[in-house]
Amino acid sequence: MSTHLDRLLALGDDALVAAQRLGQWCTRSPEMEEDVALANIALDQLGAARLLLSYAGELEGAGRDEDALAYLRSDREFRNVLLVELADRDFAVMIAKLLFLAAYQRLRYQRLAAGEDARLAAIAAKAVKESAYHLDHAAMWTARLGDGTDVSHERMQAAVDEVWPYTHELFEDEPDLRLPWLSTVEDVLAGATVRRPADGWAPGGGRDGRHTEQLSYLLAEMQVLHRAHPGARW
């Protein structure tokens, strides 16, 4: 780590894999408004992924466009953090992942929007406004579940405990973002009566292409059509 191209792929893959996971919730959410909300958030993530991967493809100069990068790379070539690829065992796990991701993306995009690369700054300036909505949404659900019934509290706490170790990887490149991230996330958790887990085990490797097997299943589903019918249109 890490060239400018690596950074673009990392950001683009985070957004793409998050979009695919969120899209899987459509028709499975606890209420119809939530189907719509998660599909909307997925669409924002997909929009950012398209812009970032298109740019990465141009920068790479090997003739790969957004589709080639999304559909024709293998798991070992993806640069996303493990957090976004983890299967959503239940709704609370998805919300915990979204909370941690959105809080990180907002800070990261904020910084990039003020950065030297004008094209990346423009992409980030759009995405940062969208991240703020994603963060609000995840924070609202964290409070609703965490400060809800005994059962919802227990499941929200279990989800946060389960996902917490994977948040360390978000700050591999820019460790100084963790402090402002913690301040946002700790406020949300405190408001939701959810205990902030202790730091400890910190799995990583996603940025170098070492993923959990869960990414392979996700990619199989996402890529099968394009691989079976390259260039298909309808």
């Binding site: 408004e33 909300a37 929009g47 004008a118 300036a125 759009k126």
Partner: protein, 162 residues
Amino acid sequence: MTARPHTATTPRDVVAAVVDPELQVLSIEDLGVLRAVEMDGAGRIIVTITPTYSGCPAMEMIRADIRTALAGAGYPEVEIVTALAPAWSTDWISESGRTKLSSAGIAPPGRVAGPVPLTLSVKCPRCGSLDTERLSEFGSTACKALWRCRSCHEPFDQVKPL
């Protein structure tokens, strides 16, 4: 340069009249999506547009509609440029656009003041009551939120401030 049909409408007028596919009461000019229409030395029309949301699926359709409208007005050579910066804001929706939204039963967005949007009560576009509640910050399209009026009990869309 090929001859154009004699007409008083400029390429800008033609493009400005293209309707947003997801907010069909608004033109792309009302919405602030249209940034510039220029003609180069060879008579090619260069249209600059900006997306509302990064993943807005209406952009493809808007591009196609711009090409169709310009071709119909005698301008077949068109280049459409997508500019991301400065990022689109609902503050760019024109006053007439806001009025058209209200008339169509869609609450217009509040002004975005500074980095944090102001939370003001949203007026019901049907009965005008301010006693409304937000059901979800995500609505029928990326740019809308879902609200309900406590007075007339009607649900309605709001273009959410961005």
